[in-house]
Symmetry: D3
Subunit: 338 residues, 6 copies
């Protein structure tokens, strides 16, 4: 059944150098607007739900462009407040083969989202208007105000019987290289509030400081995730293992743990056009499967196929609808459709 | 010896989304003009023959752009009449990896070509001015007027000792999913008129309703094509088997049946840049080999190499000349030519 | 006070040759989606109202691209039904100086909008959800089904106390050169249903067949419009006189007739970047002024300034908000804002 | 009556910096192929005649691109021989307002055209296949071989009763600043061979070394041209006076002298988009008028309007057909045609 | 005689929407790097001097792109230090006619330049290596650290006999609307340190709080500037009066006051392509004239012509060399140079 | 320790057709400036040395664009003289899969570089200002003047204790197909002057006419290179073996011979984006390793990694710095860096 699903997070302007040139070589950029919350809200809307973004954007031409873009993606913008002065940005230079791509951020701590006071949001009204809300570890790294807003909003939704989703998504470049200790209590609080969590064994080891004697990542996963789920009272834990192959393909396998059982998707191997945002496509697939009452095994297969497709699409934001993901699950190479 | 070869068919405007974006994501299109007849006439002109298109285009900026484009391709435009109001169009969104490309047609039934009355063409004069004429099953699906014109023109050419070529090219999306019964008599009439036919075992099975107990497509081919050739008095039957591989390459093998003998090309495997129009390159290669008096085995190898090259060229329309196809037949990977 | 305002009309795909080249010279196009209804709904949304489009679009990549584009423009798309197969299109080649621009239409009569059966719309529900609805003479020229839908919808809105708006917008190329007789009864029916009408003296003379002995167009206007308003019981009649000057500027003066009084805007003279859609900007300005309870003189000045600004904006669809129109009403040349 | 008209001249590749940037600022170029002969042959073909180019192009990708482009323009390419190694080129940076545009040539003396031996052309056959042939003073400046070919070809055409056209077009940058003495005998020989000549009073003064006591250019024109016509036995002399105005417009007036009478066009003033090639449009207009048997006054008006339109078209090569020039002769500012 | 001239200031990334679209309408940007210091250093290098920039840029892909761009402009980059994290940016949307352009800044206070500690610069070594140094009121508005660096550097240059230049360039949007009181002491300190000052009567009135009873701006100028020069011991004061005309042209007149005498340039009127950076071109022209020992009247004419040309060039940064400015001083409209 | 390293050679303008179209299909080009000397000087500057180009460029917009581009690449331009009229150019059409790319040169023998008289260079001063100088066999093929300049400059550098580098780089298309005899004495003279030589066994066999009974290229290399090094007194000989694989990858192994010992890099296999200039990246890597005193084995590994990276970069000219090459030497596939 279609749900009303919101994501709380920052809108980032993505400024991409076309082709395989560097910023120093080119003089043109393509721009779009994305961010984890944007990707989730858009993907979920393509799957037939109502997808809202909870965020703040400036009342200037950049904010106007962002709002237009979000509407184009099919995102409900009525929960976005307007204020502050800046939009977070990042520049993207594509890699090729052995040469890695590069991402350069501008100063996002001064953005409208990261400087928005609590008064910019009516947390109760937001919680009333949604069935499920999504938060992300990237946002959690920003500052205390934002962290406070995440927790308040999670509590308000939980209090009204809504579902709270949290994607661990730890980025060392944002928290600082050795700030696991600083991050840990914030992660623990979000895990305690969450019903559905996206993570894998690395999050358990590094953020939560858990220990294991095993060396194989699959064994680590199957040892640690049940402990995490038990401790924080998590209904569904899910995530992926990714392998980057030498021939310009990636391999991906999803897992989903619920009611004490692990479900694994097929390992999918595929060519990669635009890698950014694929994790959000996976999460959206899981949320869709759960919302629609899919079997867990079908849910994880659906999510993995959604993630695979997201690698073949231009831009961060997944664009596939349910029919296209189901078609990709059958995964035959096909000729042009005409 | 260079021949005068015409193709009867519609000029389609191809509107392609650049790169790998969707129509909803982009705001720019590249356009060109193509169609089976265009591809054949242009390819054959590159091989040193005179290639004419027999068609109708409107007397407006779109028709003017189409005519200019055909001239650029080296096609003789003196047999194109001007009238009607519209040009058929299709939009092309490129696929990437597991995500298939998409083709969306506009309403081509109202096009100048599809609404041109018989009076727009001087069938006798056209037949006088050519040695060979090519027809296609796509055109056969359009409407009764067009079907009538195909048959009239085929008869006029045949009556003057010219060669009639027919490419079965059955497109379910154009005839309707279960309209083999409706199509069959029209195909049979064209087969009876044709000297050279492009088809494979699927056409025999589905359009002509023939039957076989074999399951292997090569065995089916070798069982059915001789029967077809005998029944409709066809001098040369030819076609390809294509396999789409997982690593962004296709494999292709051509066959040519004449005088009771099958000739097969090597199986060629190659990276694909633009798949549309490759079948027309194959057909042009066969027509060139026959016109030049190549051995049948050389003809089918030449045609397969021409088809392979057509997959590496931007746009629907083959651009390789004879020297380039011969070079590709030797098929060594080569460095930049400088 | 913000109103809920719908426009009933077709979404057209605009395919524009960049710069000043012709279709035959170029190989790239810019595309967007517009149409009178689109322009009205978007412009009115920029002014702070809720703007809906009532239309039908196909469920294919073109329809999807159109819907995304409309959302980007800020248009409410919940009253758009999906079905049929095609989107109406037009190609635009820019003129330069003495060389006029050219517009070439594709076959729009087969479009989803023009082939949509009455069952595609829930007229009652649409009427319930709006305060005002806009119709256009371009739509009236299409076919009997569409004409029937216009009248039904107008009656349903009127019956619920809503306001009916009709823009005469007679296009000889659509009706046929001498089809005023055929058009007249349809226009008369729409005029009878309408509260607010956009027209000028030419519509009275040619469509309605009225007569005058005066030669000056301003005198004709002031003689005929009151007669029209009286006969069809029209609350507000409004329109513009345009003059195309030799130096790449246009001059525009708006009039508004209500309660027996004529109000005229200043004559505005300005450089022209993109002329298409300016009439819709004018109409939107009038509807906004009326909705907000502006004085009639201020309404016509606001509308003329909105029309002027629309000539300076890329694309058919007006983008100015209320603040920007008010700024333009003061009309000082200003330096870059930084 | 449609004529067969050839132009002898070099095909130049035009490499234009887009917009108003300099070569040092940009990294993209637009390219096309032009040259006086190209412009004449294409313009004359638009007017309904058969336009041939007599030239030589290399058998390499640049030559192939040039041939394709000429065919697109509607030029008959059967009189073009293939050989040599290079294509002449020029780079064009657009000016803006007070900042002049810049043209930078590459080494055109080594081009296929300028190095083609006489054996590359079958002068007799060329002369047989045309009614009229056009030569240009730019070509005359190249080298002795080319000058020889011009004269041979002119004599061959004359000998068969064809019409010889010569456009003086003296370019100081090509001949050298003070090489009038060197140029004079070559010009005199061409004038003696020519029936129709394009020139004005400056050519008489500087190239032919004639003298006058008058200071007004119109008076000079009317004094000197009759002397030139008499001396060299010229049937029609024609040309233009151009004035560059401060407001981004040019003014142009054409003259035509025949049978002892001067005919002048209106002085046309118009905005300029692309100035290069406008002189060739004028010449083509005169040749068309003469071929069609227009009155001399109508010919010069037609030619001036053709020149005016050529300023509004992207690229060197005129694109207007007869209908469009006639429309421009009435010269009303008009709205978008839709 | 060529001088070594440095400018101290921030490098800004300019992100420009192509054509006349808004950020919300487009998806592509052109980028370059500019800023007052950049413009001065580049312009002065084109005039044959050595132009250095004194600034700080981050050691990341944006800093790398900026450095490459500055080198391309001919700027000496050896006085630029590397550190910090961000580059200041602004987005530029072009206006058209009555619709003004819009500039939107990102958060430049966190840029490498604005956060560079004094230790990043070796003020003594910088002062040793230059004959003249330029500062700007925009930089003065940033923060106390930057203001301190300006004053230190000015003193160091002055102490070594170098020339100090200060351009008042008061931007209300940067200081705050009513912060003249806060700004005044900083301006006074810079004026005391400066030998050459760019300003006009408005700076005297608003920043310095001077008073006048006159209403005409020329009279105000001639009353106030001598007082300022006397009070702060300024050798040369110079500036412009600009008028924005209705027809897309601007008018500009420069003044230069030295040794008690006012010199005025002609009033130049010209079409405008890119207005930003023209003031810096003017300043560079004055510095060049002074460095070369031009007569004051010639200096102000040269500077005004340089400013005029800068309006016709794409991008903020002036590109004209001395020959081109001298050519523009004669100011004839000229045809394409070929 | 950073060195001052110059390269003597021509600046070529590279005009590349975007994407995979041919010159005949497209109308846009991307341009940049390169050449062996440009590539060496730029690459060496990225590695922290001072890289100079010794060349001649015209004083026109093309020369200006070239100089700007070289500065952008970080090349010292103070040893470039200005004069002559032309810039050498080549057009590049990308191949795809089995279709090879095509390079078409313009007439480079008339270029400023190839026509510069000895007086354009101050050989002594150049030799004074560098520690090492690089020459290339391509330049050696041009004409006697250029060959003379190479030898003079090599002798001047050698006389001052500098290091002379020579890259054999024999191009049959430039010397003529069977001109090994003509080339040989020039190559021998350069080899006698050189300290560091880039070559492999083919150069020994074909240019120097050496003989071997072995068939394996590695065995040939190890037999012949020591003989060459001994005969011409070469300190370091180095080069690569390249293999072009069927799957759009190349394999590359470098060798370095010094003090009687051969060092080989790993065989690297990688996807190819832009193959041109990779040999220059290899040479630059060797020069860097020698300048920095790397172990020979590390030098050849560094050079091979630099060559590999150059295949992944847009344009001829290598852009990687030392850190990036070292990172590539570890050669793990990595995800986007963010």
């Amino acid at each position: 059944m279609p749900k009303r699903i919101a994501a709380y997070g920052e809108v980032m302007m993505r400024l991409q150098v076309p082709g395989y040139a560097s910023l120093a070589q080119e003089s043109h950029l393509n721009y779009s607007f994305s961010g984890t919350g944007v990707n989730i809200a858009s993907a979920i809307a393509r799957f037939g739900h109502t997808g809202y973004l909870v965020s703040t954007l400036p009342d200037n031409p950049l904010g106007e462009a962002a709002i237009s873009y979000l509407r184009k993606l099919g995102i409900g913008t009525s929960l976005i407040s307007r204020g502050g002065k800046y939009v977070g940005m990042y520049f993207l230079e594509n890699g090729f083969g052995v040469r890695p791509g590069r991402v350069t951020y501008t100063d996002r701590l001064g953005s409208s989202f990261n400087t928005a006071a609590d008064e910019m949001y009516d947390f109760g009204a937001i919680a009333e208007s949604v069935d499920m809300i999504h938060f992300c570890g990237i946002t959690l790294s920003m500052n205390d105000t934002v962290r406070g807003q995440m927790k308040t909003l999670a509590r308000e939704v939980k209090a009204r019987g809504g579902t709270v989703v949290f994607d661990c998504n730890y980025r060392p470049s944002l928290w600082g290289a050795d700030r696991y200790d600083f991050a840990k209590p914030h992660y623990e609080e979000m895990l305690s509030l969450a019903d559905i969590v996206f993570m894998n064994e690395k999050d358990a080891l590094y953020i939560l400081g858990m220990e294991t004697t095993r060396e194989d990542r699959n064994e680590q996963l199957q040892e640690l995730i049940p402990q995490v789920a038990a401790k924080y009272n998590i209904t569904v834990a899910s995530g992926t293992h990714r392998k980057i192959n030498g021939d310009n393909t990636h391999s991906l396998r999803g897992y989903l743990y619920t009611d004490g059982v692990f479900y694994f998707s097929q390992t999918l191997t595929f060519s990669v056009h635009d890698r950014i945002g694929a994790g959000d496509a996976y999460a959206s697939g899981v949320l869709h499967g759960i919302s629609e009452g899919y079997e867990p095994g079908r849910t994880v297969d659906f999510a993995a196929a959604a993630a695979m497709l997201a690698h073949t699409v231009t831009g961060d934001t997944p664009t596939a609808n349910e029919r296209e993901v189901l078609q990709a699950m059958s995964q035959h190479m096909s000729d042009v459709e005409r």
